[in-house]
């Protein structure tokens, strides 16, 4: 589940840590693998470590493709 970065706690390269919110629940997450992530971005967390920043423009592109699928389907007579 992607979590949203609420605030950074520590920027040390080894002990980097931030508060990340998952569906209303906040927890401390280690951030050494995503040192350039900014507050408000979404991260994927595995074993307590953020492993990547979610690319929101790519997510929206995929969702737009789904929307188009549905629209095309609506146009086809059943």
């Amino acid at each position: 589940m992607p979590g949203r970065i609420v605030r950074w706690i520590d920027r040390d390269p080894t002990f980097a840590k931030a508060v990340v919110e998952f569906a209303g629940v906040s927890r401390d997450v280690h951030m050494a693998c995503v040192p350039d992530a900014t507050v408000g971005q979404y991260v994927i967390v595995h074993a307590g470590i953020a492993i990547c920043v979610l690319d929101e423009s790519e997510a929206h592109k995929t969702l737009a493709a789904f929307k188009m699928l549905e629209e095309v389907d609506d146009e086809i007579p059943q």
Binding site: M1, P2, R4, T14, F15, A23, H30, A32, C33, V34, P35, Y42, I44, H46, A47, G48, I49, I51, C52, L54, D55, E56, E58, A59, K61, T62, L63, F66, L69, E70, D73
Partner: protein
């Protein structure tokens, strides 16, 4: 939930299912190599829905499941040593060794702690200077950065009582092994999304050229998986062998270079024994010599002997896609999550556990 529920869109899923059915002119064999994907495929009924058009088989998608019996026996013996605590993930402590699991060792007085993250084991070490803390480090490339960070933290804190028992495994060499197995049926792979978040997908390009097998990176939600399956079917129907990324929100071609740098700073690629597979060349990691003092295998004497155990469990055949879980003679009969015979039934990411939980009713004939 943001960026989750949108990818469970029922109408998009129905359209994708229909497109797969329309485009498949024969039943193609696709393998996933991620336990999270296996669970979603079974949980959402995707496998059943597409049964006539796509044969979805499950590879070694669970790192806990492929951890060797010898390493589990070693971890068990360490947990029984005085002033030694073995820490690992919850799934790992239930996987049977040749005699006991870590959980059974705990009931015999072994000191075993479940942690959510390897860095939690570093905290335990800092708070318990009189004890040796051994983190049993299992996981694919997704988990390797977390263990590497734990080691870097322990080094920076100057902890003398922290070490790891390295059991990290690498997915791509296992896929190569599967392609070279006699009787291999795999025609396309669904690549593990979060492994690729770390490694990127460029590493699959030579693999695709060598083995002439399409690879599609997918996520874990139903629409992600269906999009990945559709792309596999399209490529197979058109005779195209390429790598395609259908999980662009989390995966890019180069992957997470910060995570790769952390792994490479601490680990080197090495051969590794995989349960059910044997030794896989380049199938895991070992600690670099600079961090050798954090290697539990070097710090502690291995004074335990693994004994061969006769079992009906065909976990190795399940993990290499040769049979499906319900074709194992032990499935649901002697082997259940409460009383597992093999690792794929123990771990929450194991293929047998997925079938038992979500699709247990109709047993198939053993092969």
């Amino acid at each position: 939930m943001k960026y989750l529920s949108e990818f469970r869109n029922v109408s998009a899923a129905k359209i994708l299912v229909q497109q797969i059915r329309d485009r498949a002119t024969r039943r193609w064999v696709l393998m996933d190599v991620c336990g999270g994907q296996t669970h979603s495929l079974v949980r959402y009924g995707i496998e059943q829905e597409l049964e006539e058009h796509v044969d979805l088989i499950h590879g070694p998608g669970c790192p806990v499941c492929v951890t060797s019996t010898e390493l589990i026996d070693f971890a068990v013996s360490l947990s029984l040593q005085p002033d030694t605590i073995v820490a690992s993930f919850g799934d790992m402590i239930r996987v049977p060794g040749s005699r006991d699991s870590l959980m059974q060792a705990r009931s015999r007085g072994g000191n075993v702690k479940i942690v959510y993250s390897p860095v939690d084991a570093v905290l335990i070490a800092a708070k318990n200077p009189q004890s040796q803390i051994v983190f049993f480090a299992v996981g694919f490339e997704t988990t390797a950065p977390a263990t590497a960070i734990a080691i870097l933290q322990a080094a920076k804190l100057g902890l003398q009582n922290f070490s790891v028992l390295p059991a990290h495994v690498r997915v791509l060499p296992a896929m190569q092994t599967i392609m070279e197995m006699p009787g291999n049926r795999v025609e396309a792979f669904l690549a593990a999304g979060h492994v690729c978040s770390v490694t990127g997908f460029a590493q699959y390009e030579p693999f695709v050229s060598n083995y002439k097998v399409p690879v599609v990176v997918t996520g874990f939600e139903p629409v992600d998986l269906l999009g990945g399956i559709l792309r596999c079917v399209e490529m197979l129907e058109q005779g195209i062998c390429a790598v395609d990324n259908r999980y662009g929100r989390s995966v890019c071609r180069a992957g997470n270079e910060s995570a790769q740098a952390i792994i490479n700073r601490v680990y080197m690629v090495d051969d590794r024994d995989w349960r059910g597979f044997g030794t896989i060349s380049g199938g895991g990691y070992r600690l670099r010599s600079e961090f050798a003092n954090f290697d539990a295998a070097k710090r502690f004497e291995r004074c335990v002997q693994t004994v061969a155990v006769e079992s009906l469990c065909r976990g190795g055949d399940v993990m290499s896609g040769r049979i499906k879980p319900k074709q194992c003679p032990a499935f649901g009969v002697g082997c259940t999550p409460e009383s597992p015979m093999g690792a794929p039934m123990v771990s929450s990411e194991g293929a047998c556990a997925a079938y038992y939980r979500f699709d247990p009713l109709q047993l198939e004939k053993p092969r």
